[in-house]
């Protein structure tokens, strides 16, 4: 009898097996979500400078916070997570994986890792691209760590939500685009329940960007960068673990539906 593969072997096999998927349509959409706004910003700023205009380096910070963090990162999670284990559930190919002796709980992480690596690569490229516009080079490592850490957490959260709810993408979108923007007016404790808080703790505050219309904002709280990255990584790992537990414990049949076990 053949011994069942270890969890690490399962994660490795699944991740390598699904790597080709990231080089297909959805993977390039993911890359485009970073490349397009950053590339457009670079073109516009270059044109302004060529015409002798003044393009402040602070604009790069604005693009980072307002476009990459608030819009593109959540959209990336909403695009990539359904291509993870949720895809097998919807295409009804999950039973082919579940009848293997490999631990089922390792499958969500194994299938999510290629997407995490691919998204992280483009986010790093995006942040480096924005640095070309200027800005404090000392904050560059913080921005990179913030984006990669937040990507880990947001992708894991969306994977979990996709296994917990039939309309996981909708719930995820509501969280990212209704709850997260409230960070400016949330009481200090609740700010800690948003990705934005930890990203800003790592990448620098957006406080300098606060407009007159936002004067009613609550006092912004901050978390030590080391704790912030730890929080993002721990939250992401917890979400992957919960997604694994959900898959391990839920009976999923050939129709992709649960039986009353």
């Amino acid at each position: 009898m053949i011994a069942a593969p270890s969890p690490l072997a399962t994660i490795r096999a699944t991740a390598l097996g699904y790597v080709p998927r990231i080089l297909q349509g959805r993977g390039w959409v993911l890359a485009g979500l970073v490349v397009f706004p950053v590339g457009l910003s670079l073109i516009i700023f270059t044109l302004i400078r060529l015409k002798g205009g003044d393009a402040s380096p602070a604009e790069a910070v604005k693009v980072f916070h307002e476009v990459l963090v608030k819009m593109m990162l959540p959209i990336m999670a909403l695009v990539a997570a359904p291509a993870g284990i949720r895809e097998d559930l919807e295409q009804r190919t999950l039973p082919l994986l579940l009848v293997r002796p490999a631990p089922a709980w390792a499958l969500p992480l194994g299938k999510g890792l290629p997407w995490f690596a691919w998204g992280a690569l483009w986010l790093v490229i995006g942040v480096l691209g924005l640095q070309l516009l200027g800005g404090d080079p000392g904050q560059l490592p913080g921005r990179i760590v913030a984006m990669v850490g937040a990507w880990w957490g947001e992708l894991a959260l969306m994977t979990l939500v996709g296994l917990l709810f039939k309309r996981g993408t909708l719930w995820g979108a509501l969280y990212f685009f209704l709850w997260e923007p409230l960070v400016r007016i949330l009481p200090p404790f609740l700010q800690r329940l948003t990705f934005t808080h930890y990203i800003e703790s790592l990448a620098g505050s957006r406080a300098a960007e606060v407009q007159v219309s936002q004067l009613l904002a609550q006092e912004q709280v901050s978390t030590h960068p080391a704790l912030a990255i730890l929080a993002l990584l721990a939250f992401g790992t917890l979400c992957w673990a919960l997604a694994g537990w959900k898959l391990q414990s839920t009976p999923i049949g050939l129709a992709g539906s649960e039986a009353e076990g």
Binding site: A3, T14, G17, L96, L98, P101, L254, G261
Partner: protein, 306 residues
């Protein structure tokens, strides 16, 4: 090898499988799981392959409960119903992943892949993506993934659906060969003739209940207890005169240019009918069995059950 003790399966309020009890012994051989659509065949196979736990009763495969049990799953292979394979992947790479998820690695994995692809005749064509493969090729790949780890129990859910006659015969030959080598095969179908070509051991399911279990002959003997309707087209008066002389006749009616007779033990009366036609004493233009289809079989057995 397989023990079900009043095992049942519910999908919320819907009963997929009524409490069912049966055993399959160790060793190779093919067992057919026969029943019309919705009979509970897939529910039973999902219980056996460990995809779903029973809602009641007990399921044991190799002496253990199969749900999420690596000790059981490493000894069985499943070919699920349908034509579903992951999009955007190449056949050989996907097969490698399935092998690794079965615990194979290194040279053993290479050898298992080569053997499985050779067995299903996909050595040359497995480098294509699934989207470029024909339905028959995809079915072969699905069979290859189930054979990779040389399972002792191979479960196939409606494997002949959508296959052309040639592919169907090839698959049947392959299954027979695997059974001869010691693999226990459980194959479901809703077509009696398909199962009868493969095996002489049948489990009959209907509306979530196991109605009968036995060899094809035993199942046919069950049927012989029930009258079967035959339409004899020809000179009705002469045909009717011949029919009333037959001891198996249960009922008769004359229709336009035909006689419809209801007979018990059709396999006794048919040779006499054949002889009479050969001797030229019976002017028959056509002979049509009216209710020898599987639905009629199940209706008879359901009445018996009731």
């Amino acid at each position: 090898m397989i023990n079900l003790d009043r095992a049942s399966l519910r999908y919320g309020p819907i009963l997929g499988l009524s409490p069912t009890t049966f055993e399959l012994p160790d060793g190779g051989g093919i067992t057919g799981l026969l029943g019309p659509n919705g009979a509970g065949k897939s529910s039973l196979l999902q219980l056996l392959s460990g995809l779903l736990p029973p809602s009641g009763g007990e399921v044991r495969v190799f002496g253990e409960a199969p749900f999420r049990n690596p000790a059981v799953l490493s000894r069985l292979g499943l070919v699920p119903e349908g034509d579903r394979l992951p999009t955007g992947l190449r056949g050989d790479r996907w097969l490698r992943m399935m092998g690794e998820l079965s615990g194979l690695s290194g040279e053993r994995l290479q050898a298992a892949m080569a053997r499985a692809m050779d067995t299903v005749g996909m050595v040359e064509r497995s480098r294509q993506t699934f989207a470029r493969m024909s339905k028959g090729m995809r079915q072969r790949m699905r069979l290859a993934q189930a054979l990779l780890h040389e399972p002792e129990l191979l479960i196939l859910d409606e494997p002949f659906n959508g296959l052309d006659p040639e592919a169907r015969l090839t698959l049947m030959a392959l299954l027979r060969s695997l059974a001869e080598q010691g693999t226990r095969i459980l194959v479901s179908s809703h077509i009696l003739s398909e199962i009868a070509q493969l095996t002489d051991r049948i489990l009959l399911l209907f509306r979530g209940r196991l109605l009968a279990e036995g060899t094809v002959t035993e199942i046919r003997q069950l049927l012989d207890r029930h009258p079967v309707e035959l339409r004899l087209t020809g000179e009705a008066q002469v045909l009717a005169r011949w029919a009333v002389e037959q001891p198996e006749l249960a009922a008769m009616r004359i229709e336009d240019g035909a006689v419809v007779i209801s007979v018990r033990s059709p396999r006794d009366i048919l040779p006499r009918l054949q002889q009479a036609v050969a001797e030229g004493s019976l002017p028959i233009r056509a002979l049509d069995p009216l209710d020898l289809n599987l639905d009629a079989v199940f209706q008879y057995l359901t009445k018996d059950h009731a």
